[in-house]
Every structure is written in structure tokens, then in C-alpha cells.
Amino acid sequence: MADKVLMKGNEAIAEAAIKAGCRHYFGYPITPQTEVAAYMAKRMPKIGGTFLQAESEIAAINMVYGVASAGLRVMTSSSSPGISLKGEGISYLAGADLPALVVNVQRGGPGLGGIQPSQSDYFQSTRGGGHGDYHMIVLAPSSVQEMAALTVKGFELADKYRMTAMVLADGTMGQMMEPVSLDFEVTPPPEKPWATTGTEMKRKHNIVNSLSLVPEELEKLNIARFERYELVKQNETMYEEYMMDDAEIAIAAFGIAARVSKNAVNEARKMGIKAGLIRPITLWPFPDAPFKKAATHVKEIISVELNMGQMIEDVRLASECKVKVSLCNRVGGMIPSPEQVLDAIVKASK
Amino acid sequence: MAKLTFRTDNCKGCGLCVDVCPKKVLQLAPDKINKRGHHPVEAARPDDCIGCGSCAIMCPDFIIKVER
């Protein structure tokens, strides 16, 4: 078994990125993700990489755009208000079909909100976040180990599908310390013949671009992009099912909410209530299949979220309204307790 | 002897080359219209050209080649 080290979630993301071959990080300070930047600032110069504190989130994401254009693995990280600023750049990355990794360690909003954990950027991340028709691959870790593993996975998927992957964590996941193994098999980046690395006078010039003024052409580009998204849906959808085989009550939860919910499921089982948990690991693409299946045998699905009810819409869509779907939530930086979730399970079971 | 060649199709007829020519060699062809719908430049007095290249340097659409 590989050696484990005790790390904060934010640091695990940073070290995993380095393991994945990322040598360029651009960011701007914002709580509760600043440890990612601080870690990179220490490590990058020692391994011949680049850490640069940008003048803004907007500049940071555009520096990412530059490195991605040059064909290298690159990342930025931020928290909710900063991600809004990056929205423009993320849309341009999508329009130019550039691979990149963006980390969002969410905090409560809207506006400046607070600095405590939240999952209120679910809509923003799963629907794209910026202007235009596009998606990001959204990965939702639920442990420090997953913070690291999904960071590596994010780089690999970004390269594979030429799109932005987002690790969508929250303040708790970022600040939490757990033992983590950083012993990963990393798929190296593919050849990128489209990258703007200079023609060397050997080929026609490459163009990285999201502008397309001919509507017929722009339509084709959008359709082709969504055909690629279909492949992502088919090949990369990830989720965990816990005690779902005979479940009568299902919990839907991701990230920190899933950890809390797992405790509640265990307590419910002790009380003789057949509860189970479906934990989406990819929020986009959303795992429809386990919810569709659950709808055939559970009497209620409870969506546990740190927001006013965002993922619940996808749960309803996935279960095709064949079963009651309810919300159990806290917001503003508050986290539902296992007791709160257990109460919801007990109520649903009656 | 200087020689002028024009990428006539790309000329937008702005006339900047005409004005900058020290020998008044060029004119916008009054009786010709190119594919873009402009009166393109032509050498009205080619024998006067001294091959200084000013017209080509001034032309925003690099339509003039100057040889000497």
C-alpha cells in the first residue's frame, strides 16, 4: 500500500496537479481556496514550473487560456465570487475547445456572501457558468483523497475531450485534513497538433479561436461540440451507490453533504429503515441511471444540499418524476447535520 | 527602370498610394471597376516611376509590388 500523507484538501489538489504534469498555475487570493495558490507558490519554482499571482481572476483565467493554447496542462483555482469573474474566460476556453482545469472551492453567496462552505454554485458549474452553449466536466470530491484523485482525472478528461474540467469542492473539503495517497497512474497528455507552438515553417499556421461570424458554421461547431459531450456522458459519468440494492428511501448528495448523509444512512439502517445513498461524482454529466433505477423501488428521494435546492432539479429529471423528491438543506455556510438528515429519512419512511 | 505590379482585385481604391507618389505616376482607374467594386489603382505614367517604393509602403492592402 502506498504511503499516505496528512494533507489539507486544498494542498492535495495542488500536489495532485503537479503529479498530473501541471507546471503552470495562475490564481488570485480568495478564501477558502488560497492554500492552493500558496502551495503552488512554494512548489512550482522548485520543479521548474510557473506560479504567477495574477492581477485578477479574469487575468488568471486568460493566462490559463494562453498556456492551454500552447498545449500544456494548466490550472487555476478560486472560490465562488472569483469563479464568476472567470466565467468569461471559461466560456472562451469552451469556444476555442481548449483543455484546462478550474477548481472552485465554493463559499456561500450570492454577492460577496460568506467564507463558509456552500454548494450554491451547482447551477453555475453544471450549466456552464458563462455565456453560450457549453458544458464543463464537473467533478465533486467527497474526501481529501478524492480531491487529489479527481484533480488528476480532471486533467486527463480535459485533454481527452478538449474541454474545461472543474473540481467543484467546498470550503469544508478544502480545509479538511485527511491521510491521502498521491501515488497515481497518470495518463500523459495526448498529441496536440492544434496547439499554437509556432509553425517552425513546417506547417500551415494554427489558430486558436472562438469567433465564427457565419451562422451556418457556428451552428456546426456547436453541434459538433455537443456530439463530443455525448461521448463524455457515455464514457465518463461517475457515481457511488451506498446500500441502494434494497433501499426504500434514497438520499442524493455530493461532496460534504454525501459524507454527512452516509452517517445518517447508517443510523437509519440501525433503526431498521432501509435507506441508501446515491452520490454523483460527476455533476456534469449527471448520473441519471442510478436515479432512474431507484425510482422503481424507493418511495422517496431526499436531495441533501448546501443550497436552496439546485441538484434536486437534476434528481427530479433523472427520476422522471416517478417518485417523490424532497429537499433537506442548510445554506449560507451552514452544513446539514446527520441528525437533520436522519430526521428527514425517518419522516419519509412513515 | 522601375516596374510596378498590382494585386488589382484586392485594391480598395483608397488612393493613399496616389497621393504619396512623388512623381504622380499612379491614378485610380476612372473607367475600371474591380471585383470589390472599387476603382483600382493603375500606373498612368509608368515611365516616370523611379522605384522609390513609397506607394507600396503606404498601401494598407499590400497590393503593390515594386521592382527596380
Binding site: A60, N62, G66, V67, S69, G198, T199, S210 | I57
Partner: protein
Amino acid sequence: MIVYDKPHALLDVPLHYCPGCLHGVVHKLVAEVIDELGIEGKTIGIAPVGCSVMAYDYFACDMIEAAHGRAPAVATGVKRADPSKVVFTYQGDGDLASIGMAETVHAAARNENITVIFINNAIYGMTGGQMAPTSLVGQVTQTSPYGRDPKLCGYPIRVCELLSELEGPEYLERVTVNSIPHIRAAKKAIKKAFMNQIEGKGFSLIEVVSSCPTNWGMTPQNALKWIEEKMLPYYPLGVYKDRSNGEVK
């Protein structure tokens, strides 16, 4: 002997610019410099939103289109990905001095080793002639229909002077391209800006006072005169910073 022909670093395609627009002249100068330095194969150009956003169809080197104002940040990424490459941005006044002012100032402050070609024609061309951060006091545009009123919207920004206050940048020069001698001087400046990057000296910005006959509402010929009579008194030509030579205007 060829006195002048299309530079190799420009593709043989028609430009979309209006008749008499000086963008083409500056494109040529950049391409001539790329040819003369033999760097086409390792040059990456970045053109953000503005009239020159489609420059990627014109230059023969690798090209990137960028979001409005963000070219210096994108260039920072490209250059840091591989410092052996030559990276230039080609930006207009709205792009560089309004929406992208932060990116401009900070790239200069970092002395980012890139070359910035800044076209100042005192107007937003692509969107049809709105007031730019460099529009002159009294200048009539679509969004200053009674003339730019400094009480309402302040004064035009002199970018070279502003950046010259920074410790960071290596080279700042303002040139124009409204006459043959000025074009020759502009080329010299642009060449120096590329040379500085190749020599690792850092951030060089060449501000080119240019024209927009269409949106200024005048003939190309009168636009050249307007540069001389109206623009240059407010935007004096010259070197504003040449750090390696200890020169600060």
C-alpha cells in the same frame, strides 16, 4: 531587385478593413519585422476583440484570438509556456486602454517579456464608432454625439505616459503611420520592440497613432491630416521609456 513586396509573414488574402484604414500598414510593418528577424516559425500573435480580431486570418504565424482586453494575460500564458517563443499582441485603444487596462498595466509592471502593438485611433471601430478612452476632447462619436465632454467622461488617456511611470516596462514608444517617414520610424520602433523580447529585455509597447476614416467620417487623405493636426498635439511622438538605455521621457 525587389523594392517592395508583400511580406512572407502576411498571407496573400484580402484584408477586411475599410478603404484607407491604417491597420493594414501596421500589419505589414509587424510582418516585415518578423521576416527580417527570421522568427515567423516561432512567433505567436494574439489579437483580441476589436477591428483586428480577425488578424488570425492574415498573419502566417500561429495566432490566437482572445477575449476583449485580455491579450496581455493570454500572452503571459503563452510566453511562460515556452519562453523561447516570440509573442506579440495587437490591440486597439478600447481593448488596451479601457476594458483591458488592468491586464496592460500589470503586464507592463511585471516587465512581461512580450511585444505589444497598440493601435490608437481614438475610436471604437468595429462596433461602429463609439467614444474610446483615447477619443479627444470635443471629438464627436456615436456615444459622444455632442463632442467628448470632459466634465461627463473625463479626459483621453495617454498610455505611453501613464505606463512610463511604472518601474517595470522596458520600452515604450509612440509612433504614427500617416506618412512615409513616419512609417519608416514606426517600423524601426516595432523592430526594436521585437528585438527587446528576443534579447530577453522585457515588455515593449509601441503605440501607433492611427486613423479610422470611416468612423471619423472623412476621406483616408483627410484622416492622415487629422492625425497630424489633432492627434499628434495631444499624443506627442517619441520614446517614453527605454530602460536598458536609462531613458525616461
